[in-house]
Homo-oligomer: 398 residues x 2
């Protein structure tokens, strides 16, 4: 049969990264291509104990249907913590528990956008979100990233150019893939521009708790007196991504529509995982976050030292990072980025993500690569970076 595919899916390919991961896993390849938490990051014994208690004491609660909005104690705990610790969420807001933060992108898009409507995104940005936006056939408009966040002049120009912008998508902290954190001045400017143009903001903050240097900046959502920001949070990087638990905090009217959309996607999020998240949060969550920050500080510092040693002498530049999971490296002027990535995996058995995986224009060129430091062991990092250094020296001289 000659299948008729929708306009959004017809030309959409699987995430290049997830395809790389499929072939890189379990082989002799050292992978800097993932976005996975470190295996050391999982509180496995605590989760096993909580789970055992839930399944022995309240099994039916965990196994029966539940409500779309999410497990009530988890919603209440998320609402309380986000308000008290981060100033996120106010009287006009509501909380929706989702299947990871990824589902927040899906529900926002479905709720606000018709095909052809414009979503403005940082360029480059997280491919999972970009592909989500593409799958519903929205029009993506990219705003270039600078060292302190998106180019505000380009953002203003985009807002002036299109009258059907539905939201601006941003990862303000340790952005994926660049690692960049948006400055306070730009956060305020972004909010003011969105408000002036009557456009919503989708603030995606999966890495905010993973800052190991520098000072925390307030979420854009903390400024939201006008009901224009939906905040996407996640347990993936601070507890476990396999659980698939995230949340949206946004204007009640928008969350209500997103809840209807979620009924159609999956009825509700796996209830056991919500109960685990809730009980884990009620324990010493802050101690676990402190542990994670130390874990990733060590890995990030090692990765940056290895970049300085192996890549910088060959003319590769990078953004130093203060949190998150990634370092963004720019190859020397005129370098063939795709050749570098291909030779890295084929000749050196090291997987990195080519920068063009993240460009808003899928056909745009990129001179950068993304390196992840959370998944590999220290030994793998040392060995893998030495191999990348060999390749850089071969290709770009020393």
């Amino acid at each position: 049969m000659d299948y008729h595919f929708s306009d959004g899916l017809r030309d959409l390919s699987p995430s290049a990264i997830r395809e790389i991961l499929k072939y890189a896993s379990g082989s002799d390849i050292i992978s800097f291509a993932a976005g996975n938490p470190s295996p050391e990051a999982f509180p496995v014994d605590v989760v096993a104990d909580i789970s055992d208690k839930i399944l022995r004491d309240r099994p039916i609660d965990a196994l029966q249907y539940s409500i779309t909005e999410g497990y009530a104690p988890l919603r209440a705990n998320v609402e309380k913590r986000m308000k008290e610790v981060y100033g996120v969420g106010g009287d006009g807001d509501a909380v929706l528990i989702t299947a990871g933060a990824q589902q927040v992108m899906s529900l926002m898009t479905k709720t606000l956008c018709n095909p052809g409507d414009v979503i403005i995104a940082e360029d480059p940005s997280f491919i999972g979100s970009l592909n989500m936006f593409r799958s519903l056939n929205t029009k993506l408009v990219g705003v270039p990233m600078e060292a302190d966040g998106m180019d505000m002049n380009a953002l203003e120009a985009a807002l002036n150019k299109y009258d059907n912008v539905r939201f601006i998508y941003t990862i303000p902290n340790f952005q994926n893939p660049t690692g960049v954190t948006m400055s306070m001045a730009k956060r305020e400017k972004l909010y003011a521009l969105a408000k002036a143009h009557g456009v919503m903001i989708l603030e995606d903050n999966p890495y905010g708790d993973l800052r190991f240097a520098g000072e925390d900046l307030p979420a854009i959502k903390t400024m939201d007196k006008d009901g224009i920001v939906t905040y996407a949070g996640s347990f993936s990087k601070v507890l476990s991504p396999g659980l698939r638990v995230g949340y949206a905090i946004g204007p009640a009217a928008v969350i209500a529509k997103m809840t209807v959309a979620k009924q159609g996607e999956d009825v509700h999020t796996n209830i056991w995982a919500q109960m685990i998240s809730d009980e884990f949060m009620a324990g010493d969550f802050d101690a676990h976050l402190a542990y994670l920050r130390e874990l990733y500080r060590g890995k990030a510092e090692l990765m940056m030292a290895l970049i300085e040693k192996e890549l910088v002498p060959a003319g590769i530049q990078y953004y130093p990072v203060e949190g998150g999971l990634f370092v963004w490296c720019k190859l020397p002027e005129g370098a063939n980025m795709k050749e570098f990535c291909t030779r890295a995996v084929k000749e050196k058995k090291v997987a990195v993500v080519p920068g063009n995986a993240f460009t808003v224009d899928e056909h745009a060129e990129s001179d950068s690569i993304r390196l992840n430091y959370s998944t590999p062991t220290d030994e793998q990092m040392i060995e893998g970076m030495a191999r990348l250094g060999d390749l850089a020296r071969e290709m770009f001289g020393a």
Copy 2:
């Protein structure tokens, strides 16, 4: 702010049933409105033991990111069992693990339909699916249900009338809400019509394993030599709905696009729940199914006896059922169905679902109600049906 909602969501309300359930739970109300498995249906000790083993022996596997296609052993087991036991799935097919069967509806729609494209559905049908189709602003065309499945003349007329039909949605076994099972002759006719018109079939079979009387009929998917059927299966009714694990078996090209769409919705399904489903299936799954069939046979027979005693004398008719979770009752000619449902919950403290919750045209009238027998205890059924009988006698005489 004046929010701009998408055409699909703007006028879409939450599922009437899920709204009823929210207010009916934990109160003094006896509910025949749910679609929940019986609390007795959950193999709680087996699940707790499997979970404990997984979380002690392979915690990282359960907590780390996984691939979108689904946990490989579960995919293999589903593929094997469905092929060997039911003849579902062939060489050109692939399996995708989803967040319940609900996500199959979401992914099929997103993959195949642009806004305005036509989906043909049985009328009445499952509100969760209908609302999903509506949320992406497709055009729904209903085909009336008869005692042996959809009216094939009306189906043919609809296929002739619209040239942008993307798929026909059917629940062939113990349909929700009518309880009707499609005859073999109609299964063959449906397949032939779909093939002749180059239209796909979405075969949703959540209740197929819950037959407690009569003979099993082959799935429509067993006839699929042309790659036109996607089959939606679920662990919700045979293990646990809280897990949110279902699957699609369909043409590989369609499943590949659905997999891309799923990356955008939730990356992958909760991995612990997939591992639980896999291990449970590898155990004595058939014994559990036999137990469930006996459990629901008893409940269905009690419900039908109570309908005969309490409702039939007042002129209410019903379709006798051979499986599934629901009985569909038609009120007497000229009865005010909405008044009956409202007085039932307000005066008699008994919740039932008004038939118009399931009509393809949201504004259509209905003279029927749906009764669920899986969730209430036997005592609740006896008491609740006596109260409904009182109301029926008050409203329609004896």
